[in-house]
């Protein structure tokens, strides 16, 4: 369920529209009544819909939203594995990304239409979940772009000063060398299956 205030707002909207529908004959006859109809049947519903849609889009970026599909739950568990090389676990456990939007932070493109592309891909996921069926092996639609890593690491001192990065900075920038070429483990599913998880003391 969405937060109670959103439910109450939408419920109030439905009630108001129903009351206006019932009283249309009376309201149409008066100038003030016509104004009430305009606000109640156009302004208020549009405002509520915009708010609901905006909230829904924001909510769909949340980690809990991604993990609400059982297919993703193993990947959610991979955030907790005891593996200092696994990218997802390292980023989550060290709070390198906002934990509330962990999936989205790494899997959305940061280009102009990155958000739109991520949402369209989300629609494809829902289609696969309910209609087409989920493939046995879940894979990215395209090779993981370096730009998503560099969005945060690009000018980070820890990244720039690491000796192995220095000779390949241009190649990483151009995309001719993938970050995952060296950082091979994104999600350590082996440790998920082995139930090898890290816990803060």
């Amino acid at each position: 369920m969405l937060p109670i205030y959103m439910v109450v707002a939408l419920g109030s909207g439905v009630t108001i529209v129903t009351l206006l529908l019932a009283g249309t004959n009376v309201l149409v006859a008066q100038r003030t009544g016509r104004l009430v109809l305009l606000v109640g049947l156009v302004g208020l519903p549009l405002l509520l819909s915009a708010g609901n849609l905006s909230y829904g889009v924001a909510e769909s970026s949340q980690t809990r939203f991604c993990l609400s599909c059982h297919e993703m739950q193993r990947y959610g568990k991979s955030l907790f594995v005891d593996d200092k090389q696994a990218l997802a676990a390292v980023h989550y456990q060290n709070r390198l990304v906002d934990r509330d939007v962990t999936c989205y932070a790494c899997h959305k493109d940061y280009a102009l239409f990155g958000d739109v592309k991520a949402k369209v891909n989300g629609l494809r996921h829902v289609w696969a979940h309910y209609v087409r069926g989920v493939p046995d092996k879940i894979a990215l639609y395209q090779p993981y772009p370096n730009a998503n890593c560099l969005h945060c690491h690009d000018d980070a001192r820890r990244f720039l000063e690491k000796p192995p990065h220095r000779p390949v900075l241009d190649a990483l920038q151009s995309g001719s060398l993938s970050c995952l070429g060296c950082h091979r483990v994104a999600h350590d599913m082996g440790k998920v299956d082995a139930h090898s998880f890290w816990q803060a003391q």
Partner: protein
């Protein structure tokens, strides 16, 4: 005019009710139903209302 406005109100109400239903049972699928059915119904209802008002004003102007 009244009939058209009632239609607009009914469609708008259906759109808001769809969004309310999705908000009560929030899943990726119901979010899509809310965005792809609920919101367009509200938009259609609003447009129908405005068309009804515009036609009424036009008829009054002609009279």
């Amino acid at each position: 005019m009244t009939g058209r406005i009632k239609w607009a109100a009914a469609i708008t109400g259906a759109g808001l009710a769809t969004q309310l239903g999705a908000a009560l049972h929030w899943t990726p699928a119901t979010f899509i139903v809310s965005a792809a059915v609920g919101v367009p119904l509200v938009l259609i209802g609003s447009v129908l209302f405005l068309v009804a008002v515009w036609r009424n004003l036009k008829e009054r102007g002609a009279a």
